[in-house]
């Protein structure tokens, strides 16, 4: 098991290296320099700028320079916000995005597992149909529509919750977290229902019931352990989706997190910021996929033995 873990980490390093290199040269291939955006700069200033940011050097030299910085955790200066480094900006935005993602996942897990398990246990009753219908809505209404609709209903018409911000007004974290979490609650509900249905028909559940365990014990101790494996393996890839969702949610609710920084950097053509955040996001996603794979391995005794 530990061997697998280390093997996967060893594989992740060259992958991240390749991602960093490809992104670097993609950004270099972009037409237009970072400083010829809105206002024209005099040639002398441009020359000084290029010198200051080491843009005169050959691509290869810049690449070696960037990569050696990267290893030390230095992602270079931001082109748009002079005097601030990309690493610094990531460090400011990250805690906010993490908090948002954490609440969202919490909501998704609570709501999703609860309704999915209930639906599986009460199969073909209205306790099954109604949550599953709501889950279908959650899958079909995209985050970028759900967010504005929630704002329209709770923020503008009912005026019970703030429409934007993060941590400034009481309750302003509620709508963003629900917006981001709802779609995942829907997926998790469907996955846990499917997983539970599969497990509930198996022999070991019958054995557990036959030896006189209460239904509650059967469900919690025996069925859920196997039935929720699909949910655990879903969580890794879900992190990538949460990230994309955070772009939308942070834009809608004007939250100063990493997602909004990224979208703004994309608009401003702040190339070092794009490059840095892309590499950072990739590393994070690779890491979370690793964790979720490991967790599914640990939960599933069959794959544990065969490894």
């Amino acid at each position: 098991m530990i061997a697998i873990f280390f093997k996967r980490i060893l594989l992740a390093i060259p992958v991240l290296f390749a991602v960093a290199s490809i992104t670097f040269f993609l950004v270099k291939a972009a037409p237009g320099g970072p400083f010829d955006a809105d206002r024209a700069v005099s040639p002398q200033v441009l020359k000084n700028l290029n010198e200051a940011y080491n843009l005169d050097a050959s691509n290869w030299e810049q690449y070696v320079d960037y990569m050696s910085g990267l290893i030390q955790g230095d992602l270079g200066p931001s082109f748009r916000f002079p005097g601030r480094s990309v690493t610094e900006m990531i460090a400011t935005g990250l805690p906010i995005t993490f908090e948002l993602a954490f609440y969202a996942i919490l909501i998704a897990l609570l709501l999703g597992v609860l309704s999915g398990v209930t639906a599986a246990l009460k199969r073909n009753t209205f306790l099954d149909f109604i949550p599953m219908a709501i889950a279908m809505i959650g899958i079909c209404v995209p985050t970028f529509l759900m967010g504005p609709l929630l704002v329209l209903i709770f923020g503008i018409n009912l005026e019970v919750l703030p429409v934007s911000g993060w941590g400034q007004l009481p309750g302003d974290k509620i709508l963003p977290s629900i917006t981001l979490g709802f779609a995942y609650a829907a997926y998790i509900a469907r996955l846990s229902r499917g997983g539970m249905l599969e497990v509930l028909n198996q022999d070991f559940i019958r054995t557990a019931r036959a030896k006189g365990l209460t239904e509650r014990m059967v469900v919690i101790k025996h069925a859920m352990q196997g039935g929720l494996i699909p949910v655990v393996s879903f969580l890794g890839p879900a992190i990538a989706g949460l990230l994309a969702g955070s772009f939308v949610v942070e834009t809608i609710f004007q939250i100063p997190g990493l997602g909004r920084f990224y979208v703004e950097a994309a608009f401003n053509r702040d190339y070092t910021m794009i490059l840095g955040t892309t590499i950072f996001f990739s590393a994070m996603i690779v890491f979370f996929n690793l964790l979720s794979d490991l967790a599914s391995l640990m939960l599933n005794p069959r794959s544990r033995d065969s490894s």
Binding site: M136, P142, F144, L145, L243, V263
Partner: protein, 283 residues
């Protein structure tokens, strides 16, 4: 029902599934509307009546007008062209890459297979949405690039599904017989393998279309997808959000259209899966 082929059997089951049929009908209606948009739309998508400004639904403008006085119904109809086009073309791109990749990996087996599937595994773990954004930023917001970029992301699962199917087929007698007769690889893929895996491919393709449309909507919402004056449903929703406080219909109608379409695609896709593979239909 004795001599029915897989397809007529599936068609029978599909027609019995009410949700799937309603979904299918909505889709057909939408596709017809999208194709006929220039003829059935009451106004041009770019015609502005600035005197009108944003006005609520009325008999002249069934769904109202936007801030520039453009007819919302017409814009939704024209938007359908872009949104559906992205959905179908990008899925087509994903289909071509994924199916070829999966057939080759599955049929060749051995080292080729393990290298090809390793690549898929690695690509799975990468944040592709970010790469699409990167591409759109670097190379401009080009419609064809968007098709290619989205298609290039969505093929991974297709490759896995196809590979699994091909491995199941590989050792069956008709494939061995064809091998014995010296059929070359290309003919083997086209004549013997592909027709036998069309079912799962069709199912997965139908379920990929809504994902692709969501992705396009997501990009357009961020302002990185379709650029004005062209509009997709994603850009209409984006515009609607900007003015939803005063003119809520600008958000609600495009939103409803988009959601209904996704519902229809999902129900039809689920129905198709159940029809082609009755074993999985129970959960």
């Amino acid at each position: 029902m004795n001599n029915n082929s897989l397809w007529s059997d599936a068609l029978y089951r599909l027609t019995r599934n009410r949700a799937a049929m309603i979904g299918g009908l909505i889709l057909v209606a939408l596709i017809i509307c999208a194709i006929l948009a220039p003829w059935i739309a009451p106004y041009s998508y770019s015609y502005q009546d600035l005197n009108l400004g944003a006005s609520p639904p009325s008999s002249d403008h069934l769904l109202g007008t936007d801030i520039l006085g453009r007819d919302l119904l017409s814009r939704i109809l024209y938007g359908a062209r872009i949104s559906l086009l992205v959905g179908f073309v990008a899925t087509g791109v994903a289909l071509v890459i994924g199916v070829s990749w999966g057939i080759i990996a599955g049929y060749m087996g051995g080292r080729i297979d393990s290298v090809m599937m390793r690549i898929v595994d690695v690509l799975y773990g990468l944040p592709f949405i970010i790469f699409i954004i990167l591409l759109m930023v670097i190379f401009g917001r080009n419609l064809w690039l968007l098709f290619g970029a989205i298609g290039a992301v969505e093929w991974l699962t297709m490759a896995r599904i196809v590979r699994g199917q091909v491995i199941g087929l590989k050792n069956q007698e008709f494939v061995l017989a064809a091998q014995a007769m010296g059929v070359n690889n290309l003919a083997m893929f086209r004549r013997h393998l592909l027709p036998n895996i069309l079912g799962p491919i069709a199912v997965y393709a139908t379920l990929t279309i809504p994902q692709v449309m969501l992705l396009e909507g997501f990009l357009s919402f961020l302002g990185l997808g379709i650029q004005p004056p062209m509009s997709s449903w994603g850009t209409l929703i984006k515009d609607g959000v900007e003015s939803m406080e005063e003119y809520s219909w600008l958000l609600i109608y495009p939103g409803i259209t988009f959601t209904i379409t996704l519902f229809a695609l999902n129900f039809f896709g689920d129905g198709l899966r159940d029809a082609l593979d009755p074993k999985t239909s129970d959960n």
